[in-house]
Symmetry: C2
DNA sequence: CAATGTGAATATATTCACAGCT
DNA sequence: AGCTGTGAATATATTCACATTG
């Protein structure tokens, strides 16, 4: 009997810490742009708006890359986070759905700016196929597999209407994509091993709405515009 | 000495549970569209892709709205979640930044579809001011305060470049906005009491990149396209 | 001596498992 | 009989506080 076989993927970073690494990375970029070579966890924490102990613990999952009494070397730490996140590789993405949001994401500089080139934009609507969006021609979804394989794409961005999302996800998975960023307002069912992250834009507003309502209650203030109850199934 | 003054805002829902309410709400909407009147926590859990006990505990923070042995009445539960989130009120939003993302969000049906009307789109760029986006004319940021006050706006969506974000946030706060949804890749500093939620689109991809790298390591498979190390301060 | 890295303490979140209703 | 609502158990995350080290 073998005890304590330490899961070979033991190196896994806790989810909560992982989610903050992109933030630290961005801050390190800004700090570097100002010519600063060293940062302390206190400084990072201040800039990131989090607790300094949290910064240190988060970074400790990557290894011991700081210097006691001094801090972290900006360039070195940047490199280590990038390496941990896999950002020293190219990760071309495909965008499925060339509606408002899909087009916006294709045009949106933020992806390419941070190293995610758009290998293709896909749709099934003949009216959209052929149009040029963000410098990329919209292709028919039938070409997805070919592009994913030839360009070695492993990340897909899903920006279709909810009704089309599951089928589009199926196609992404069949084409060989291993991770999906889902903007469609629906829950995807994917084979085990495929990673999905969901972004719910309207949901974010609903959460803010809760905070605003709490504030309104707390301050005993007047409620916002007309308490027009919406239909229950809206 | 007074012990255990139970925080008057004790009614606060745990953050993690709160973040799932929009998901449940959406699922309830789908279920209702299919004409189903009752759902069990098992069914909801299945549809939401989470544990059934979690569903029950989340819903229990709202009150006891289920019926033992039966489940939850779809319409009633929908109403209760909406009420808790403050969605029985109108919450007009303003969008600051009429670049690619700002325009897309204004056009994007998802906000209005879920009851968040766009009261205005603002920018400082004279080339953009006056253009019509998503049926709304882009106004100059100087008009922000007037619109926020006249339309009683308390939620702002920030979609400017990072460099302009802090100043735009200041203006939102000064105008009277209490909650900000921040798409700009930067950390905002706001007065105590103002809520900020950040959406980091590229950061989401970076996290997926980590998963993909882990998969590549686990499967011992070939790395993705060219291991071109990017500049350290990228 | 200043700041990291980390055990220990605390807080939050998830899940189990079942008493209690319908 | 079946499903909710919830204490208790567990897991994860955050924060404290300090020994350790350059």
């Amino acid at each position: 009997m073998v005890f304590f076989v330490p899961d070979p993927s033991r190196r896994r970073i806790p989810e909560a810490a992982l989610a903050r690494l992109p933030l630290y990375l961005r801050i390190l970029g800004e700090v570097a742009d100002e010519g600063t070579a060293q940062v302390s966890s206190d400084q990072l924490a201040e800039l990131a708006g989090v607790n300094a102990a949290k910064v240190r613990k988060d970074l400790s999952y990557l290894g011991s890359y700081g210097t006691r009494g001094v801090g972290y070397e900006v360039a070195f730490l940047t490199y280590q986070i990038q390496r941990e996140l896999g950002l020293n590789h190219d990760w071309p993405v495909v965008i499925v759905g060339a509606g408002n949001l899909g087009q916006a994401l294709a045009n949106y500089g933020g992806f390419t700016e941070r190293g995610f080139s758009v290998a293709g934009v896909f749709d099934t609507d003949p009216a959209k196929v052929g149009a040029v969006v963000g410098g990329v021609r919209v292709r028919h979804l039938d070409d997805l597999s070919q592009v994913v394989q030839s360009r070695n794409v492993s990340i897909g961005v899903l920006a279709t209407p909810a009704a089309a999302a599951q089928e589009a996800a199926n196609r992404l998975v069949r084409a060989g994509v291993g991770s999906i960023l889902n903007f469609a307002p629906c829950v995807l069912s994917v084979p085990r091993g495929v990673s999905v992250r969901k972004v719910d834009l309207a949901g974010e507003l609903q959460i803010l709405s809760y905070y605003e309502q709490q504030r309104a209650i707390a301050t005993g203030g007047t409620q916002p515009t007309g308490a027009t109850a919406r239909g229950v199934s809206a």
